[in-house]
Symmetry: C2
Subunit: 205 residues, 2 copies
């Protein structure tokens, strides 16, 4: 692209470095800002700078938080001994949305992925293991994505804590509610038959 303005070109280049945003979309977004009042750009840039420079992680669960301990970890009504291991804040938000979980979280910050250069040392695994070691955890629920990286991460953590004999579980894999059987992939369908549950239990969901 050939820009008539260096400032515009620079802004488009910076915006297009965001994931999933190409040059054309970036140009559309920057031109939108140029048409809007200057305050809008000010609010946007201030909010981004602020979140980048000021945001903290909860020292206990490593979720994004404005305070040293997050609202979930400080909530006395949550079971601190039931710990759900997730990848990032989006998974916490998704599980919180269901209203079905009254334990606490442990946010790893990613999955083990040699291709992307993410090893165990880049994730919050050590602090999870020491929680288990200190007897703070009764049950660990693995709730990572059902991918090669997710399974690897689950297995790596499991091996580290195996000897402490706590309950470990993983969220159920199966046919999504509302899905047609014929369109399910065979691995999911196979697992959902092997891991079938008593019919009475399915009525509670």
């Amino acid at each position: 692209m050939d820009f008539s303005s260096k400032l515009l070109e620079n802004a488009v280049n910076e915006v297009s470095r965001l994931p999933g945003i190409g040059k054309r979309t970036a140009l559309r977004l920057v031109l939108h800002l140029l048409k809007q009042p200057k305050e809008n750009t000010k609010y946007l840039t201030e909010a981004l700078s602020l979140v980048r420079n000021e945001v903290k992680s909860c020292v206990k669960c490593h979720n994004i938080s404005d305070t040293t301990l997050c609202d979930i970890c400080t909530n006395p009504n949550r079971n601190a001994e039931l710990v759900c291991v997730v990848e990032d804040i989006r998974d916490v938000m998704a599980i919180e949305n269901t209203g079905q979980f009254r334990g606490v979280y442990h946010v790893l910050g990613g999955k083990i992925s040699p291709i992307e250069g993410v090893g165990p040392q880049n994730l919050q695994i050590e602090s999870l293991v020491s929680k288990v070691k200190n007897g703070e955890v009764k049950e660990l629920i693995f709730a990572l994505s059902s991918t090669m990286e997710g399974d690897t991460t689950n297995f790596y953590i499991f091996k580290q804590i195996e000897s402490y004999h706590i309950t470990t579980s993983t969220i159920a894999r199966g046919i999504s509610v509302g899905d047609e059987l014929e369109y399910a992939d065979e691995v999911t369908l196979g697992r959902s038959i092997v891991n079938r549950i008593p019919f009475e239990q399915s009525l509670k969901g």
Copy 2:
């Protein structure tokens, strides 16, 4: 969405005010910035602030420019009497990309659109009419989108300059190069038959 951090929520809200970006995408973008070095957010916000606060319009063609007169308007090799009327900078970039146009542009900044509250007074129409009035223009090429709003804007401008007897033209509408006839809509196909061109001329393109 229920955020664990007000700073994060605020940033996501601001990003999701951009056109075509929903809350989920906004969250993905902000989390991406949080994983990147702080400098990246700094570069992004600085580039946006700078372009919003410092960018100028060329006083002659109203295209976005870092200088009072843009590179196209100051280029002595361009025919200043051949003026192409476009909606915004993206159209200038698209036409420049073809390498087929050696005149100059006049950027309206939009199209007349009562639904979006854009009237002739919000566009750079007056300055175009006075260019024509002052005898600066020999031919005006209308290159707006082929929509109701584009046609309305063309017609509005045409009525204002009709009495000055300059040449006016509009870019050709027809079947796109590489397109199959059977998939063309009937209006386009109809126009392309009515406005057919000598075969020898088509060989030059």
